[in-house]
Amino acid sequence: MIKSNDTDIQIAICGSAGDGTIASGDIMKRAAAAMGFNVIAFDVYPPEIRGFGKCISRIRISSKQTYSLKQESDVLVSLNDSHAIPHAAEVRDFGVVIYDDNLVARVAEGGHISAHIDAAQIPYGFSIRQISEQATNSSRSRNVVILGCLAGLFDLSAENFHDIIAKKFATKAQSVIDDNTKAFDAGLKAGRTVFRLDDIKVRAGKIKSNGAEAVMMTGNGAVVRGFLESEIESYFGYPITPATSIMERLAVEMPPRGGKFLQTEDEISAIAATIGAAYTGSRAATATSGPGLALMAEMIGLGVMAEVPSVVVVSQRGGPSTGLPTKTEQSDLNLAVFGGSGDAQRIVLAPTNVEGCYRCAGMAFDIAEIYQTPVILLIDLYLSNRYETVVPADAGTYTPKPRPQINLEGGENYKRFEMTKNHISPRALPGQPGLMYTATGLEHNEQGRPNDDAHMDMSIKRHEKLKGAVHYPGLNVSKRFGDKGKVDVGILGWGSTFGEILETMYQAQAEGISCSAMKVVMLSPLPLQSIEDFFDDCREVLIPELNYEGQFAGLVCGALGRPVTRLSRATGSPMVVREILDEVRRLSGREPAPVQAVGAMGARS
């Protein structure tokens, strides 16, 4: 819980594409992390590459562990009033709105953000453009001036900002670093002269005291780190938002390590190459989003049928089709779990935070190789692009396991798909003497030869072998938080939404509501026993998720036949804590939540 003497502020910087909004947020979050704060940050930007679309960088800075962005920001900085005006209402009472009060061009009546600042909010006007021009002879540094203003207002360490600015522009000319530093210092001076009227408190940052240096990481960055530490050998990919940054980073990191990296002509080629490389024993992966996964479905089926271990990262965005390329959603669950022809069960992992991305990516190859099947790592844009401070020592719970030894005796009796007690067969690699076999998408017998009659037995084998995965050590395929034993309300969640769920649970507990939360990291196969135990302990179970159909709720209901209350939202934005909390209150009988038009998706089923 956040106490009154803790630091817990959220800054939202809003501008137009080209204003440097995201860069500004990037410097802010890195400086805050360097000061020792826990940071969660998430950027929202338009689908257009260039133009005048809206960009928002939200950064939550806290001296305590936090799990999601806050619904209300403490500070809104406007670099573009027309974009920022709709967000003025997001600022809490006695929070701050910072804006340029010395514009050059006339704005229409009501076009200045000062017209939209509530009486309970605190306006701080700065001559942002003018300060930038005076400091650097250019208005392009407005995004850095506002960082100085923030640092001046809230007495943040200028040294950390200077350091981050120098690092961020290290590859550019020294004059770029100098100008940005000047712009920051000019903003700092302006910020320090303002008399503060807000009630925002920033105390010295103090991150976990294990001595390790905290690093900022996105979910995609954590996936890359997990892949690299688990010794990925081959990557084949085709760019698609929001997964592209995985490919971009691996393109830089893999070749020097001897890895093979290839950008293919499309997603079908990418998954085909991945399965092919994995067939040869290479640790191979690809990454895509929902539309790409749809194209990959057939080849993933081949991986299931031929029992080829591979890893497919899927970062979800709003769908169907091209959908909302730069907005988040959790609507590819059904495709990830069930997509493709036939009974093609695979392992689907859904980490809930950045550290979880690292952990799951690090374990994914091991799991794929042990269970000889494709593993889908299902994340979403909110997690892919979200920055969190991660202390490596905390994240380092994953230690790469020794690769399974493929040291088999060859001969006529070798059966690649042998029926074993645990349904996992001895896997040989192509080229191993005496261990030749046919890998095929056709149903086959134990030797791998096409055989229709083996279909029932092989179907059993392919499903049964995965059951052990729910006990995979160190993965925490499910985990319960909050009150132990019987509770009034249990919140069951998956993926990026779980941060909001945890925040909700702690707030509900603070209100005296008996409440627990459980995250489910393995969506296929489901850890049914622990979920059922959770249901047994909860008078009511609520499942919030970011899709219209309530796909996870449907999955759980289908598996357990137990009633749940769904809170399904398809807004393109992260789940809202207040909405979940309202539902928890209603379910606990504490306070009825107002009826909202959510149709059947808001109903108990």
Partner: protein, 342 residues
């Protein structure tokens, strides 16, 4: 096309806020916009000395909660400086390059601290007391038990001085012709009042004139006043309290009559059909004296705001210029003033 009138009020003090509430009472549908330089919603400036009694949160000084603006449907524009009013085209120009059109305009911009001509160049060195920020800056810069040097000593300054004396500070007063402003006092009354201040612990310097203000270190507030005989008076802060000068610069193109303030009829109507004025910014026609007069003080200002608003809605009320204007000292030496009634 809408027929809902848009009322714009320049200023958010007691006149402005009182006017806004009156407008809303009289017209539930009209649009009301209040434009102010201030950072805060409406608060009682007469309570500012309370910061020396430990009230350091501006929210404690508020007479109404911020939510009331939304409840009343008042669009509040803070930190917005009016640079021009076009009385013909009926719009207000704001410094941040926005025009706000109005149907009827009420000017309640008040005034800024007046400074004698010979001291204007020292303005930046001295402390003000016209806003919460200024009050808090003074509180920060004046060390406990320190000395505030006041030049002038209008009734706002005297009020603060009494609080400072009560709370363990020292006050040195350099009198001017504005001492006890806005009251007009006879020489005899003035001596009696000054004696009361001295009895209360104030050091009073009469029959002299401040000619310079200085500070010892850059970055620190002014702490020294030079008198006309070359004597230096030292303290910790220097504050001018010489009455108010109306804020009317932005009205020069508004097609209204201006003298020291905006000239208005007893109905508080300016010479422009769509512009009214209230509070410290306006001089009201006094028919008996055949002159335009200021009527300062919280009570007068509030009454003016409400009256102007009613007249903007169509009434035809007259401001009663026969108001009580009294300053006195009781048997215990305590000063009372109609200016302080709020």
């Amino acid at each position: 096309m809408t027929t809902t009138p848009h009322y714009v009020i320049i200023g958010s003090g007691s006149a402005g806020f009182g006017a806004a509430k009156t407008l809303r009472t009289g017209d539930a549908d009209c649009r009301i916009t209040m434009v102010t330089m201030d950072s805060l919603p409406f608060y009682n400036r007469y309570n500012l000395p309370q910061v020396f009694h430990g009230r350091h949160d501006w929210r404690d000084l508020m007479d109404v909660p911020p939510a009331q603006y939304a409840e009343l449907g008042i669009e509040l524009r803070r930190r917005s400086r009016v640079v021009d009013v076009d009385g013909a085209q009926r719009f207000v120009s704001l410094a941040h390059q926005e025009h706000v059109a109005y149907d009827r305009l009420l000017v309640c911009a008040g005034g800024r601290g007046y400074l004698p001509e010979n001291l204007t160049e020292y303005f930046g060195l001295m402390h003000g007391f016209g806003s919460f920020e200024a009050a808090m800056r003074l509180h920060k810069d004046l060390p406990k038990g320190g000395t505030a040097i006041m030049i002038g000593g209008d009734m706002t300054g005297i009020d603060l001085a009494m609080t400072l004396l009560e709370t363990g500070y020292n006050v040195t007063l350099i009198t001017t012709s504005q001492t006890f402003w806005p009251h007009r006092v006879t020489t005899q009354e003035r001596d009696r009042l000054l004696a009361a201040l001295e009895a209360a612990g104030m050091k009073v310097l009469k029959d002299t004139r401040a000619v310079g203000v200085s500070r010892e270190n850059s970055g620190k507030p002014a702490a020294c006043v030079t008198l006309e005989d070359g004597t230096e008076v030292r303290g910790d802060v220097v504050m001018p309290f010489c009455g108010l000068a109306s804020s009317v610069e932005f009205m020069l193109r508004a097609d209204v009559d201006i003298e020291r303030g905006l000239l208005v009829t007893p109905e508080l109507h300016t010479s422009n059909e769509t512009i009214w004025a209230a509070g410290d910014v306006c001089q009201i026609w006094h028919d008996q004296e055949k002159a335009y007069k200021f009527f300062h003080g919280w009570k007068n200002v509030r009454v003016m705001g409400e009256l102007a608003a009613r007249n903007m809605l169509g009434a035809n009320e007259i401001f009663d210029v026969n108001i009580e204007d009294r300053i006195d000292v009781d048997a215990d030496g305590k000063i009372s003033s109609t200016f302080w009634i709020h």
